[in-house]
Subunit: 169 residues, 2 copies
DNA sequence: CTTTTGTTTCAATCTTTGTTGAAATCTTTG
DNA sequence: CAAAGATTTCAACAAAGATTGAAACAAAAG
């Protein structure tokens, strides 16, 4: 398989995957491109390579930087901004997990905590009971997952999952 | 807090969350409604409760059944179909994980395996090398996560995560 | 077999999300 | 500080995704 083909396929696959993760296809593609580039790239190189507009590249890069998986670098004597991706995939995965925890899990925990105090006079016992059972369970799951992610984040990806698999096998 | 308010908030929160997970808001809301209902519901009850169209309810329910987190039941002497959600949140979470693994992780693994054979003549050594490093890493992560999910699925959610946390703390 | 009741399908429509490109802004340099 | 280079913003547009509603279909009852 030729290099260019392979690279294109990686970019396509990653762009595809990213849409499942609340990240637009373009962001995923830019990210993939940065991942496989030995050196940091400028927005012009990205525009050229992926045929997308300057505005889109600018916004996508900002968003990737906000996710914490891409960073700006500067090359001495050059006025342009260069961008590079985190290259350690485990670190990347954990960084994404950390962000998603913050954006998705934390709000659920907060919401379920509010729901812990239902006035039992306001519906039949069965209904109140069923609702309470669900909120309690959801809260429980969310908090356990939260704890797990914390541990994962602290111990670093590779170590974390390796250890975990060896222990549970 | 009143029962009806609380229930509505749960439905809203769950619908919101679901959009982050490749599941439409409506599917999430229907699912939440089924989760907190002590008894199975018909599509008419869902239409009534959530004010959505019959067609949408039909399609959403089908999709939820395909995800394996909702099932049809029948009530003797009644011609209608009733629907009920899985009530064990851990089982639910694992079922979702299993499906996402199948839909998202497995294709990535397949794709990366294809990319393992790049002809080194077709680009500079640095470029080929960088691409190989990334595909290998991604494959590694994907396979480890895959393995982890398998273990999780086999041992059942609660046990799995509890054990995991106690071991790694 | 016909009617009634319940369910599914799908083209049309609406809503949301992503993208473009040009103007505005910011930065460096002569 | 003016000009050139680089980046960001944002209103208009395009694409993708979700929803509706009515017609087609299926199953049970009379």
């Amino acid at each position: 398989m030729k290099y260019t083909e392979a690279r294109q396929q990686l970019i396509r696959t990653w762009g595809q995957l990213s849409t499942h993760w609340g990240i637009s296809r373009t962001m995923g593609q830019i990210h993939a491109l940065l991942m496989v580039s030995p050196d940091p790239l400028t927005s012009d190189q990205i525009i050229e390579e992926l045929k997308i507009s300057r505005g889109n590249v600018s916004m996508s890069l900002r968003s990737l930087v906000e996710w914490g998986i891409v960073h700006k670098t500067f090359i001495p004597g050059d006025r342009k901004e260069y961008f590079a991706s985190e290259k350690d995939v485990w670190k990347m995965a954990l960084q994404i997990a950390r962000e998603r925890k913050r954006r998705e899990l934390d709000p659920v925990i907060q919401s379920m905590q509010h729901l812990q105090a239902i006035n039992p006079e306001t519906a039949s016992a069965r209904e109140v009971d069923e609702l309470n059972k669900m909120t309690t369970q959801i809260l429980d799951v969310a908090m356990q997952v939260d704890k797990m992610l914390d541990i994962g984040i602290r111990s670093g990806g590779q170590t974390f999952v390796r250890k975990l698999i060896s222990v549970l096998r």
